[in-house]
Symmetry: C2
Subunit: 225 residues, 2 copies
C-alpha cells in the first residue's frame, strides 16, 4: 500500500496542513540525525532532542503506516526515505518563481530548495529591463508573456508568487489557467483559487512573533545578561 | 496575574516554539474574524474554519489563563488583545536586518511586519557601495562598523540574519556581544548561541514541502482537471 493510497482511504482533506508541516519538521530532524550517523531513534528521543511531542510523532507517522519497530524505534534512513515519498520529494519537484524583485531573486537562489529536491526551473517578470537577465545563482528571468509555454515545457509543479499584492490575483489566475495546482504566496491579502488547487501563504511575521514571545516571557523569567 | 508571570510559574522552557507558532496562527485567525466583524467564536468554530484542532486550541489558551466563556466561546477582540500581550506585540518590537542583499532588502520592506507591530529600525551591510543607500521602503543601509552603536540607540529587540552562511556565525557573535537576545536566521547551517539567547531558523523549504505533499496525495485522490 502506497502512502498516498492510505491517505486516500482516510479522506484526503483530513490530513491538515499542520500535519504536513510537522512531517517536514520530522524530515529536517532525521536529516540532522542521519548527518550525525545516528542509525535508529525512538519517538521519545526524537521529541526530546528537537523539542517535539512524542505522542504526536507516533500519531502522525502511524497515520501513514507502521514505521516504528518495537524496542528499536525508527530506522533513521528508512523513515527519512518514507517521509520523502509521503511529501512527494522523491520524484523531484519543479518550481517557478513569479516576480524578479528582491524577494523573487532571493527565492530563486535560496540554497535550501535544491538540497531538498526542489528545482527552481523558471523565474518570471513583466519588466522589460529584467527579462533576459539572470539571478546570481544563474536562473534566467523570462517574460510573463512566455509563462504558459515555459510552465508546460519545464513541467512546473509549483508556482511561487513574489509579486506585489495588487498583482497577485492576476498571477494566480494565469497560473491556474496554465494547469498549476499548487501555489506558494508571499504577498499579503486574501487570494482566491478554485477547488482542487492549493494555495499556501507564507507569513514571515509568525517567526518574528515566536521571538517576541520569547523576549516577552524572558524578561520576567531570566533577566538580561 | 500577567501572562509572563504565569509562564514563569510553569517554567519558561516548557512552552515550546510550536506553542508560540500556534498562538501566532490563532492571532492571524482572530485578525481575520475581527476584520469580518465577528464578535465571538468557539474553539470548535475556530478549528473548523481554519483547519485547526479544537482541543489543542483550548489547551494552548488555557495554559495562559481562562479566556473562554462557557456557552459563548471567546470574545474575538479580547482574545486578540490577550494574544498580542502574550506574544509581546503590545509594546512594539524593534528589529534590525543584517545583510542588504536581495533577501535583506525584501525583509526590510516586508509589509506584514509593520502591520503586526514590528518596526524595521535598521539595515546593515559591510559593502561600501551599499552603505548610505536605502531600501525601496526607505530603510537606510548602515555600515556594520556602526552596529553596536545603532543597536543601542535604536533599542533593537530582534536581529534578523540575511547574510551568506559563511558570515552568519560572526554576525551572531557581534549581535550577542551587543546584548541582543533574539535572532531570526535565514542562512542555512547550524549556528551557536549562548544560553539565554534564542535563535530561530526560518526554513522556507517547509512551505514548499506542504505543497509537494498536497500534489503527491492529490494525484491519487483527485486527478488533474
Amino acid at each position: 500500500m502506497t502512502p498516498s493510497n492510505k491517505v486516500g482511504l482516510r479522506g484526503g482533506d483530513q490530513v491538515s496542513e499542520l500535519t504536513a508541516s510537522r512531517l517536514s519538521v520530522y524530515l529536517r530532524c532525521l536529516n540532522a540525525l542521519d548527518l550525525a550517523d545516528v542509525k535508529t531513534v525512538s519517538s521519545r528521543t526524537l521529541a526530546e532532542q528537537f523539542h517535539l511531542n512524542a505522542a504526536q510523532i507516533r500519531k502522525d507517522l502511524a497515520y501513514f503506516g507502521e514505521f516504528g519497530v518495537r524496542g528499536v524505534g525508527y530506522y533513521v534512513k528508512d523513515l527519512k526515505r518514507h517521509l520523502r515519498v509521503i511529501l512527494g520529494l522523491d520524484r523531484g519537484v519543479r518550481v517557478a518563481v513569479v516576480g524578479a524583485g528582491n524577494l523573487g531573486l532571493a527565492l530563486a537562489d535560496y540554497p535550501g530548495f535544491h538540497r531538498e529536491g526542489f528545482e527552481i526551473a523558471a523565474l518570471f517578470d513583466v519588466e522589460r529591463g529584467k527579462v533576459g537577465r539572470k539571478s546570481r545563482g544563474g536562473v534566467r528571468i523570462v517574460d510573463m508573456t512566455e509563462f504558459r509555454k515555459v510552465i508546460k515545457r519545464e513541467n512546473i509543479d509549483i508556482v511561487v508568487l513574489a509579486v506585489p499584492a495588487a498583482a497577485a490575483q492576476d498571477v494566480v489566475n494565469v497560473a491556474v489557467a496554465a494547469g498549476i495546482r499548487a501555489l506558494l504566496n508571499f504577498a499579503p491579502g486574501t487570494l482566491k483559487v478554485p477547488r482542487g488547487v492549493k494555495l499556501k501563504n507564507v507569513d514571515l511575521t509568525v517567526s518574528l512573533e515566536s521571538l517576541s514571545f520569547f523576549l516577552a516571557r524572558g524578561e520576567s523569567d531570566e533577566g538580561q545578561d
